[in-house]
Each structure stands twice: as C-alpha cells, then as structure tokens.
C-alpha cells in the first residue's frame, strides 16, 4: 500500500467565544496516511469532537490550515466545501440520521444522486452492493425507520461509502450500539481501510475499539498527547 498523505493539518487553533474566550485546540499539526484506521480519543471536553468537525470541513471557524488529498480547504466557501464533502468525505454519526420517510436503498443512494457522476441505475447497483457488504441486502426496500438501531447504523455506513470517499469520519460511530454490533461495525471499518485503502478517522470513547486501530491520537486540553 502506498504511503501517501490523505489528510494533514498545520498549526490548527480553535477558540470558543461563548461564554468566555477559551482555546479548545492549541496549535495542532499532524498527518494521516491513506488507508490508515485512526481513532481520536480523549476525555470529554478535550476537543476531539471539535477537531473532527474541523477535519470534516463543516466547521470553518479556526486558524491554521487543513489539507485533504493535498487540497487546501481552509478559506473555501460553504457551497464549495459542501461539494467537496459530497465526493471526498463519508460520515457516520453516533445517531444514524437516516431520512425516516425514505427506503433503506434510497437513503444509501442520496449522496450519489447529489454527486451525479453516475447514472441512476449504476448508483442503485452500487448501493445494493454496499448493502450486501454490510449484510443488509434483504432490508433494501424497507422504510428506514423500520430497522433496528444496529441495522440503521450499518445503513448509515453504506450511505457514507456510496461515493467511494477518500476519508470516512465517524463521531462515536458505535456509541449507541451493543457490543455485537460494535464488533460488526469495527470489522467493516477495518476491512475498508485494508481492502479499499480508505482512510478512517473515528472519535470514540470505547477503549477496546481504539486499541484495535492502526493508530490512536489522544487529545488532552487541546493538545496532542502522543
């Protein structure tokens, strides 16, 4: 596997202004290699989620620089960032956030329908393939809110994968799952990183989860602990 850089940050600083001015992230610089399975850990308030949302390009209120796939994303407009996220970043959140009125397969297809680089039929085939990978083929036509929590989370992962993003970001992706489902999700991530060379960055509280990753970044009071 090629050792290329998927993501890098230079001298990242972030302040909260409400209620008082407070520095959350203190001059962070690090790189993440392509195909790396990385977990971000730290106590609550350490700034790990804040860091993840900056890496995800959704939070733009910071100082420093953010590169993903060697593209400088700092200072880009919201709509440009939205388009960038659409094709390069997949998200898995603690809560699945599926559109409840849509069928499972429609939910999975959404980001690709937005990207529009493939035809509808290709997208559908790809979505089916992803669902199959996650063992959800039989649930494809069901309405999203009829599935169990673990299944919904796997649908969210299938959705995150639909555009073959370079990076998959998870904000406590297993936070609401029991140990069995956690194990399933972990295996999926591991496989994605290994087989497909997709970079995975996950914020987690789960020490077992973190321990099995390729790399751990620990934050404490806005500073890297490693």
């Amino acid at each position: 596997m090629k050792e290329t850089i998927a993501l890098s940050v230079n001298h990242l600083q972030k302040y909260f202004y409400v209620p008082n001015k407070f520095q959350v992230l203190k001059d962070l610089s690090f790189e993440v290699k392509k195909g790396e399975f990385l977990s971000l850990i730290g106590k609550s308030g350490s700034g790990k989620s804040t860091l993840l949302y900056i890496l995800s390009t959704m939070d733009t209120d910071y100082q420093g620089e953010l590169f993903i796939n060697n593209v400088l994303l700092t200072g880009k407009k919201q709509n440009e960032l939205a388009a960038f996220r659409n094709s390069n970043i997949g998200f898995v959140f603690q809560f699945h956030y599926l559109l409840p009125e849509f069928s499972v397969i429609d939910n999975v297809m959404l980001p690709a329908l937005k990207l529009k680089t493939k035809s509808y039929d290709e997208i559908r085939a790809k979505a089916m393939e992803n669902l199959n990978l996650l063992g959800l083929k039989e649930q494809a036509e069901k309405q999203a809110n009829k599935l169990s929590g673990g299944q919904q989370q796997r649908v969210a992962i299938a959705r995150a994968l639909i555009n073959d993003p370079a990076i998959i970001m998870g904000d406590e992706p297993t936070g609401n799952l029991d140990s069995k489902n956690t194990q399933i999700v972990f295996e999926i991530f591991k496989e994605l990183a290994k087989e497909r060379g997709q970079t995975i960055i996950a914020v987690t509280h789960d020490d077992d989860f973190a321990a099995n990753c390729d790399r751990i970044i620990e934050l404490q009071d806005g500073v890297l602990l490693k």
Partner: protein, 414 residues
C-alpha cells in the same frame, strides 16, 4: 434547475405530514376561492347596476346644448379696471334640436365601435284625459332602434310594441302615468304641447320599466307623429342616442364622434359620474378583501413551513454534512410551498367557481334581478392563481432561506 433528488425529499416531507400539508393547501384554497368569488360577485353587481342604468341611459347622447355663455359682449375689449353693466343679458338658443339628423347619423355610422343608433324626439307635454291633467315626457321613437338600444319592447306588459309601426296615432304609455290618468288599453288620450297644439292618440300598449320614475311620466309615439306634433321636418330629432360595443370605452368613441358633428356629444361617464365611481369603489373593496384573505393564507403557510423546518432540522444538517448545499435546501423547502400553492390554486379556482355558481342561484328579486348577480371572468381566475402563487412563494422562501443557513455542526453536536 431543480434537482430530482431534492424534489423527492420535498415530496417525502409533504406526504409524511399529510395533515399539515392539507391544512396548508386548504388555506391557499380558501384564499384563492374567496378572491375569485369576491371579484366575480363585485363584477356581477357592477354589471347588473350598469345594465339597470343602461336600460334608460344610452352610452353616448348627441343633442343641441345651450350655446356658450356670451352674454358679456364687452369682456374681450374692456380691461378689468372698467366696470361694465349690461342690463338683463340672456343666453339665447337660436336653434332647437338637431335639424338634419340623417346627415349626422350617416356620418357616425361609419365608426366601427358603434353597436346601435336611435334617434329620439322628446317633447314636454301635458297628457289629458277628461279633466285629469298630468305633465310628462312624450318620446317620439324609431321602434326598431329604440328596442335595440334599451330593450324597451320587453317591458311592454299589455298591448304590443310593434303596434306603433302600424297605427299612426298609437301611443305606448308608462304604467304609472296610465294609472294617474285612469287609462287602459285602447282608450284615447289627448296631448297638448307647450305651443298649445293638441292631438289625440290611442293607447296601444302599457310599459313598465325598472324605473318607476320613468313610468310615471313617459309615453312613446312613433317619431314621425312627434315631428308632426311640432311641425318639424322629417329629419328633425332632439337627441341621437348611441350605444357602443364596449361601454367602458364610450368616452373614447365620443371623442372620435366630435369630428363628425357640431352638436354636443356626451358619453355616459360625463352624464352619470356616480355610476363609474360606485363601480370603481366596489372593485377596490373586492380586491382589498380578497388580498387580505390571501395574506392571511400566506401567514398560515409561513407558519407551517417554519414548523416543518424546525422538525426536519436534523435531516437538513445531515444533508448538508453529506454535501447538499444551501441552494439544495432552499429548493427542498421552496418546492414544497410551491406545490402547496399550485394545488391550493387549482382547488381554490374550482371551489371559487362552485361558490360563484351557487351564490348566483340565490334568489334576489329586486328591480329586474331574479338572483344575486355573479359574473365570472377568466382574468380573475388567472390573477387569483398568480397572487396565490406569489404569496406561497414568499411565505415558503423565508423559512427555506432560514433552513439553508443552518450550521450542521451546531445541530449534529447538539
């Protein structure tokens, strides 16, 4: 371009909260149907009012007016510092009536906007039956054209309108006038002019128009008999009554007519300004009321769309995280309100039409009306639809804009 995917999400939002969507559609429906109905009703009232007025009033009248007041003969030659006293000045009308009406009628016939011309010779006379004496108006008419303009024939309640053509001394008489003189069909009546000329006529019909005031003092004879009574030539008339195709343009046609005749040309707007004012005022009230209803409907939609945005705020955040941008979010919510607007618009027009039909059947027997007058005009339907769409567009755009500005980080992190 509106994305199919966005429309699909919009559709899911609309159908997942079907009750609220229906209420939103109903509020537009109500607004638009009221707009259609109110305007149709006002137009119907205006038309009925105008029809009533035009049953005795022509759109344009040509007559010999008093000459310009020239009694101060020295005005032009003497400056303001000189006091002038002219003893007992008078405005004298040297000619009465229109001497050579044929010429004028032939000339104005060429104007294409004209739909009918009726010459009249109106004389103030005394009607007499034995010792009973009533003064009134004797109108010498051309039966065919008179009926064309005013539809007088349909107001004949006894006898016949066309008898005037066959019976040279025939007279049609107003119902009130007949009662005052204790006259009935086939009785004789004596008429005396201001110059003292008397002649006997035979009553061949009794007329009851919509205006009692007219029926109390008016009688009709053929125009040649009237000329004879005044010893005038065969082309003499006192008024030329003219109808045009579109009475709202009477003043324009009148302006054109002035080139063909030296007599006074008077469109109905000039003679009856109050008619026009009343029509205009009613229209303003109709528009004001219906726009207010639409505005209220707009607030309803704004409210419902705002609720939708608040309810779906997490979905919006996740869509944005997945790469949907602000425009997509605006499209998603705006298309919902536009669908509401279009649906409400169609149903509203249908409902407005139905209400108009039903109200148009409510009995209302006053004057010549049988039911409440309701007109329907395609323009009102179109305007109602356009205003309805505009209202829903604005009411939907504001919440949509708000939704597009949502910061996904804030929502997802909680």
């Amino acid at each position: 371009m509106i994305e199919k995917t966005n429309l699909k999400i919009a559709y899911a939002h609309l159908t997942s909260r079907i009750k609220q969507s229906i209420i939103a559609v109903l509020s537009v429906t109500f607004g638009i149907s009221m707009y259609v109905f109110m305007n149709g009703f006002m137009k119907g009232v205006n038309d009925a009012q105008t029809d009533l007025a035009f049953s005795t009033l022509a759109h344009i009248k040509i007559y010999n007016d008093l000459p310009v007041d020239n009694s101060n003969l020295l005005k032009k030659n003497i400056n303001n510092n000189t006091i002038v006293h002219i003893s007992n000045p008078k405005v004298i009308q040297y000619t009465e009536g229109i001497i050579n009406a044929e010429q004028t009628i032939d000339a104005i016939k060429k104007i294409p906007e004209i739909s009918g011309i009726a010459p009249q010779l109106n004389i103030n006379v005394f009607f007499r039956n034995g010792s009973t004496k009533v003064n009134g108006l004797l109108s010498g008419i051309d039966t065919q054209n008179e009926d064309l303009l005013f539809g007088t024939a349909k107001y004949v309640i006894q006898g016949s309108w066309t008898m005037l053509n066959t019976q040279t001394d025939g007279m049609l008489i107003g119902k009130g006038l007949a009662q005052k003189l204790s006259l009935s069909l086939k009785d004789n009546i004596s008429v005396t002019t201001a110059d003292g000329i008397a002649k006997n006529f035979k009553i061949v019909g009794i007329v009851e128009t919509t205006l009692a005031g007219v029926d109390n003092q008016k009688a009709y004879i053929r125009i040649n008999a009237a000329r004879q009574l005044l010893s005038k030539n065969a082309s003499y008339v006192s008024d030329i009554q003219i109808n045009v195709k579109d009475f709202n343009k009477a003043h324009l046609v009148a302006q054109k007519m002035k080139e063909y005749t030296q007599y006074k040309v008077e469109p109905w707007m000039e003679a009856n300004g109050q008619l026009q004012a009343a029509n205009g005022l009613r229209e303003i009230i109709a528009v004001a009321v219906s726009l207010t209803i639409l505005l209220v409907a707009g607030f309803g939609i704004y409210n419902i769309m705002n609720m939708t945005v608040n309810e779906k705020i997490r979905e919006i955040a996740i869509l944005k995280a997945m790469g949907f941008d602000g425009n997509d979010v605006v499209q998603i919510f705006l298309s919902q309100s536009i669908v509401i607007g279009i649906l409400g618009g169609w149903v509203g027009m249908a409902l407005g039409y139905t209400i108009s039909l039903l109200v148009g059947k409510i009995p209302f027997q006053i004057a010549s009306l049988d039911t409440l007058p309701v007109a329907s005009d395609a323009k009102d339907y179109l305007l109602a639809f356009v205003f309805g769409l505009m209202t829903t567009f604005v009411a939907g755009y504001l919440p949509a804009k708000k939704a597009s500005k949502i910061d996904p980080v804030e929502i997802i992190r909680g």
